[in-house]
Symmetry: C2
Subunit: 460 residues, 2 copies
């Protein structure tokens, strides 16, 4: 079925005597002797205007040309006398693939709430906002792959089902093939007869696997789904989300900060360049400060601030925080906001955190008290990236695992990376949805995921 996409038609360089478009009617307006259709096929935000003269469509067809109907239009691409559009189509023939009953089709021409649209997630990508959003999501995903490939990284698809209870980054979902209604007494092996014969979970991070590949291919990244079984109903948490995790051999924390900043800026730049029209919708209708806020991220180098200094700044601020500022504490949202929005007024990378508040695999600094961790904090957004240099010294790593009471046997292969040709290496993770929320100004994670999964919500 040959067709020209509306994106291609709108960008044509010359009129065409013959063109075939297929898409969905967004609106129809009748005038004396003809009708205007606004047609959209998802290839871009813009509709193309189709002029249907009286007689081109028979009565039965005309009756079906309603909002939501899918149609085929054959006609001529001609210059449009209207403003805001270069081209329009003068229909010679029009037919309907499938109509949409005006009484029951939910997406009539009016503004719908995000909450309502979540209940019709199978139709919401037909709206301007969600069409734009999922085109941006697609292009941003490409930007990730393109960035890393251009810079000599290899993409590793790390496993989703993991045998490690011990990733330790959050509550995990369990994966099983056993019947849910035949649990066993606690005394018996609950995994007997189960697919893997042992406890199996959905991964919370591909990092440990990515380290394997950094320690062989040099520079790698993962980009895949990760999971948290946390029962938190907030606009920023979903049970299933995509994460980007680069991991680099022969890199220290400074390299890691350089990479994080360059990666983030490149991604923003790519999306602004390639999704200008779609992004403009968000700047106009979703977040009036979006452009300024993105400009601010791009404008200057990020501040790099040791955690200890961040505490001093917060103490000196004279602000009343809900969480009082104390040495060695983790930063709360209010503290992050103060640093990025009030004190520095730009992105801040906080690094060298107290070891007590960070994970076992982060490299112990020479002071014996802090680890080579970093968090990238953005104004209005908060933490967008978290990472660290990894502990590459076998004895130090074993000691840390022991101190934290973790099960050493879980990590035999991870420890062997430190036993055979160990190298300094570093990496970070960025939640892809966090990035999408930042770049569009959308404030609920449910609205940047095709079919979001949250507690008690598994529709579609």
């Amino acid at each position: 079925m040959h067709r020209t996409s509306i994106n291609e038609a709108l960008n044509a360089e010359a009129p065409r005597d013959s063109i075939t478009l297929m898409g969905w009617v967004r609106t129809r307006r009748d005038a004396k002797g003809f009708s205007f259709l606004e047609l959209n096929d998802g290839s871009c935000l813009a509709n193309i205007q189709v002029i249907v003269d009286e007689g081109v469509a028979d009565a039965a067809t005309l009756k079906m040309l309603n909002t939501g109907s899918a149609v085929k239009v054959q006609g001529m691409l001609v210059e449009s006398p209207g403003k805001g559009q270069k081209w329009e189509v003068k229909a010679k023939a029009i037919s309907v693939f499938g109509d949409a009953d005006p009484e029951s089709f939910p997406l009539q021409k009016k503004r719908h709430s995000d909450e309502f649209l979540r209940t019709i997630a199978h139709l919401r990508p037909r709206t301007n906002k969600f069409g734009a959003l999922f085109r941006i999501r697609s292009e941003a995903a490409f930007a990730v792959h393109d960035y890393f490939r251009r810079n000599g990284y290899f993409y590793v698809q790390t496993p989703i089902i993991t045998g490690a209870d011990c990733e330790g980054a959050g509550e995990m979902f369990r994966v099983t093939t056993l019947d849910p209604s035949t649990g066993k007494p606690a005394a018996e092996n609950p995994f007997e007869g189960d697919f893997f014969g042992r406890g199996a979970h959905l991964t919370v991070s591909g990092q440990l696997s990515a380290e394997v590949f950094a320690c062989s291919l040099g520079k790698v990244y993962t980009f895949g789904p990760t999971f948290r079984a946390e029962n938190s109903n907030t606009p920023r948490h979903a049970a299933e989300f995509w994460m980007i995790e680069p991991e680099v051999a022969f890199a220290d924390l400074g390299d890691n900060m350089d990479l994080a900043e360059d990666f983030l800026k490149s991604l923003i730049d790519h999306v602004r360049t390639h999704c200008a029209a779609d992004l403009d919708l968000f700047a106009k209708f979703v977040d009036k400060d979006l452009a300024a806020s993105l400009d601010n991220i791009m404008a200057k180098p990020f501040v790099r601030l040791p955690h200890g200094e961040s505490i001093q700044i917060l103490k000196k601020s004279g602000k009343q925080f809900d969480f009082p500022v104390q040495d060695g504490m983790d930063l709360q949202t209010e503290h992050e906001r103060y640093l990025t929005e009030e004190h520095f007024k730009r992105p801040v990378i906080v690094y060298d955190y107290p070891k007590e508040i960070k994970a076992f695999y982060m490299r112990l600094n020479d002071d014996g008290k802090t680890v080579a961790a970093m968090d990238v904090l953005l104004p209005r957004v908060g933490e967008i990236i978290g990472g660290s240099q990894r502990e590459e010294r076998l004895d130090v790593l074993e000691r840390r695992i022991g101190e934290l009471g973790l099960d050493m046997s879980c990590y035999w292969w991870y420890l062997e990376l430190r036993k055979f040709g160990s190298v300094p290496h570093a990496g970070f993770g960025m939640g892809f949805e966090r990035f999408l929320m930042m770049v569009t100004g959308v404030t609920n994670i449910r609205d940047v995921i095709p079919f979001p999964r949250t507690p008690k919500h598994l529709e579609f």
Copy 2:
């Protein structure tokens, strides 16, 4: 930590007075007054030769320069007098990041079996074969994204956790947060208190979700992990694998066949162009017929053969098959091989299958007996792609769901796509690992996945 990658060094256009390389020693050979190191950093298959003159490394360092050690080399990039390499490095300084005890490091210079290497999946990407394989995997993944983007498709990340018991493409893993040792009597709701409050599973296909997006953005694809809880221990099955699923609005089965053929050929072409050195390893050491077999796929248009005709050909073949040929039967491996390897001697797309042996969502043909399904069959490989035009007529689809005794309520949103602006559309699925096995000649799926998951195997 600034370094030049070995790939970059080997492709240098001129000598360099000063260069820093970091990587792992593959071999060391001592001569009178100097040593040769073969250094690899994962950036490419080739090693770079490093000449370490006596006195450049102290005794302690020299002792650690063994196979597997990680080192930093500073020196000069100079023309190599040896053949097969343009450049080598004359070391001025060398230091060791982490050594590898020759007594315990498993990857000594000798051929290791694939079976053994699977037991050290955390080290196998440091071998030539698996390094090459995972670089090819990375580039092939990029080729997928690049192909679709160039052709106007949007990438949709469809959900991994699904509430639909009803995808029907195979045995599913269950996802839960309930304690495995507290099952309930069958009479009670087994999902009470579970994260989603209902049965949740790992997806077997993103197709139904992709259809939603095809019916809004026009041309889309998914590329993500999918799961089968089938207890089959074969070289071709894994519990977790990645699948590519394009879905196209305003497309029929002919368009679908065109896309499948063009996509597959483009992917092969991309990998041959961008991974020539890595692929050559497989052509030399893994599969002597690899190049000829890829040439054969590229050479001519694929045969397009209605299923009914394929049965006639098999009947007339005079061959004794283990599965006797009968009208309306599904093709077995031996039949596929006969068609592709003996009869046509090239790829064959079989289409218009009897509806009884295909899924409910495939479009019923006008004969009322067959559906607009297709399978792409390759010589030596078998089925690599399966797809169909989807049933877009609400009444026909409802009838099919009813005939098959499926639960209509599972599909309310899928049916609504046919109620509001329904369009003809089509798509297919290709297992990414199947493609990788085909393009490398590797015969076990465990050897093209970073950390394979199969029954009772969940290591790493």
